[in-house]
Symmetry: C2
Subunit: 536 residues, 2 copies
Amino acid sequence: MVRDDQKRKRVLVLGGGFGGIYTAMALEKSLRRDEAVEIVLINRENYMVFQPMLAEIISGSIEILHTIAPIRRLCPTVTLHVREVESIDLENKVVSTSPGFRPHAHTIEYDYLILALGNVLNFSIMPGLEEHALPFKNLGDAIFLRNHIIHALEEADIEEDQDLRRRLLTFVVAGGGFSGVEVAAELNDFVHRVVRHYRHISPDELKVILLHAGPRILPELPEDLGIYAQNILRRRGVDIRLNTRLTAATADEAVLDVEERVPTKTLVSTVPGAPHPLVAALPCQKERGRIVVNGFLEVVGYPDVWALGDCAFIIDQKTGEPCPPTAQYAVREGRCIAHNILAAMRGMPKKPFSFAVLGLLGALGHRSAVAQILGMKFSGVFAWLLWRAIYLMKLPGLDRKVRVAADWLLDILLPPDIVQLRTSRTQSLAREHFEPGEIVFRQGDLGDRLYIIEKGEVEVVKEEEGGVEKVVAKLGPGQCFGEMALVSDAPRMATVRPLTGLNVLTIQRGAFRTLFDHLPSMRETFEEVIERRQAG
Amino acid sequence: MVRDDQKRKRVLVLGGGFGGIYTAMALEKSLRRDEAVEIVLINRENYMVFQPMLAEIISGSIEILHTIAPIRRLCPTVTLHVREVESIDLENKVVSTSPGFRPHAHTIEYDYLILALGNVLNFSIMPGLEEHALPFKNLGDAIFLRNHIIHALEEADIEEDQDLRRRLLTFVVAGGGFSGVEVAAELNDFVHRVVRHYRHISPDELKVILLHAGPRILPELPEDLGIYAQNILRRRGVDIRLNTRLTAATADEAVLDVEERVPTKTLVSTVPGAPHPLVAALPCQKERGRIVVNGFLEVVGYPDVWALGDCAFIIDQKTGEPCPPTAQYAVREGRCIAHNILAAMRGMPKKPFSFAVLGLLGALGHRSAVAQILGMKFSGVFAWLLWRAIYLMKLPGLDRKVRVAADWLLDILLPPDIVQLRTSRTQSLAREHFEPGEIVFRQGDLGDRLYIIEKGEVEVVKEEEGGVEKVVAKLGPGQCFGEMALVSDAPRMATVRPLTGLNVLTIQRGAFRTLFDHLPSMRETFEEVIERRQAG
């Protein structure tokens, strides 16, 4: 991008979370008309997610789009690029973004850079998590989870296999911090509120399990509030498992470190975040993966670069303590950076960052919450009203405030919604993980995908007359199975079981057919494989 | 599925549109407690779409989920299967559905069958439609279109290429019936209302074009109302092209029969429906693809099978005229079938179907509409108020009525929403269509996908120093191109242009890499191809 005016300074903000947006808003507000400054913000979506209300999407007490606010309305004079950041070049002061409709690289030069990229969920820490656990971080995750829950209820209502029913009606949430507790509470409320519409499901069949590695949930809060929350949730039927960790996940089970496997089709993980890959790639100094800044929030060694929020390692200048990665801090950090950038431009003194937390709030669903505000502790209905009042106040934009208030009002008056909005199409290529003792597929099943082994081993077993089993093959990495059912319409001719932990790549029937029909090399390979199998 | 009670009769309804739902609702209401009848309904979603309000999702004046109603709430005693119907066996009185979580075929026996499957959009009638036109029939289509429009505005706001800007800011709707007119009107209103948030787009750049094959739009209405609607839309800036048909579509253009190509990234098609594939496969008598029924709406030749709505060919028993495929008729047909099934069970006389249409309503966006009710004609604000009042009344369920009324109220008070909810992930395998004169990709572009030719021919051209072009290859069906940029990170090394109409299958970079890494046969093939290309 060519700079149209050489004298105009460009401030480039990367990231549209609390940190990035509040920096841009504060800058926009403080700029004088005679200051030739352009603010550019890059974010992958054209909205900011109001995280504290995200869990309410599960139960539908807030409309899907009301927990998010359009960035163009929050910062009307900012130039917004709805793109992914692809690389950051601190030496040449250039950032490049993903292509839009045209497949062209797009680069943006800057005078001042603000890094507010947040962090990402870390799903690589245990087998099967990436393939089978549901994340809970952004709007798409919340919508997906809600629909998945409704889908599970729909299926359970007409399912006669008791084992599968149990899996469908068991919901597991891993992580007992604020996020995990709010998800478990909302999920539990929602399934119990709507179950009466599913005539073949009894409320006793519903099971919500919250896994937490520590001795009590909500470690961020004082002990008595944590215990209070625990008691409330247990009374509502949530099965809280303390001192328990998830160790692996499959399509059918959550595997725990206490030698237990919980059969479930719904596993939500709120595992701790990992550094954003772009931050990891930066050459600057880092502490536990976060960018080290000085007291003015400037990145050490790069005078025109600033960092804040979850991606920065910030020391409070009064207490000397590291600042927690919360929205409360990100908002204040943003204002501090806006002040300091303007000070740098105007040649005025900069301000060191310091902030004392005002309070902590956690919603427990169904009209109760826990809160610690200015040292005082609250719980129950009063804390819940406080929660709603405070977050409604903090929600950016008047139109959003009105819309959410209307949602809450209607939610009290009207029954909850159970329409399932399918947002994801089946991926034609996917990865799956299996644990030993599970079954990949059974003889007689319909064949809907082909499997290619990435890691691990399987045995192929034929059931013969009289229930006798015969192992017909063992397969390992690079080999594939399940192709027979894809080229003919016959059901699976054998059962396949993993002998070890197993990672597979799967290709859906439709995609397989397309590739088979159009790629001669692929057709030849599989025709050979099939011939060999049939001969063997 | 085993029948638990042999004496219990099962009524099976296929389809959850107006026809299916109103039949089930009427049956549920009229059944006596002592009648052992089970009603089962199969639909691919757990909600019914209220079609007349679908277009309002585009502008966001109704919340996404409020135009749909949960089937479980409309018919609480009906057993709902959220599945696809896979086959209908009229001889053995069995229907089979798609598998759910378990890959097992699922069959349901019936005593009485009601076919309310509707019709499907017919996108196979011209080249490129299936690949590049946006349908407008169900909820997913409406959400997709809304997000696509916002995406186009986001991109246009930061795009400097004038040609691409024009394509992004031109929106084409094909079909001047009720559906097409409502979409064009809402779309036009929406882009003009939100454009002020896009500071680099001038309202003059926005172009909405409505194509219609006949001499005036809304042929369903009397001439003066059609002309009135035409004038209103033209005054608001909609470019209405009469006597004009779409003949082909590509990713960049709408090709018209008047030897014109309209550059656009947004083409909505509301083409006439084709018979549902399941209906097409039935052995019963059909007229223009629709199932022929007798005066009682029984399928001719199959005494316990009934059909209604868009999939049935119904003659009004008073006028002798065929009934139009509208919601108004479907609702009355449903009530008639419910009456007749109960009459059959109870041994009472059946009722022949007859209904006189009450009126026709078409919304034109921005507080105007046209209507013909009980022979009287209305237009303007009054017709618009009438439209809202009548449809609010007709919306099934009290909670929906309240929610939609609240939406309309807030829509008057608050600015329209511009958040973009991305619901579709990029398909790893897709089809694309190109017309001669277009360009598949340009030398120097980033390589994001591989192309395999299904039909047609291309030329591969290298630009050399001094702007000289050299044709280096011609490729035809079964051959592939674009693989070089996928195995290395280099940009496209040549330009590819279609020599004829071209259909290609594309594989996205990520999917290609996965296949390349895990399928040895694929790797070998492409390594060979690349070696040959580099040598050549």
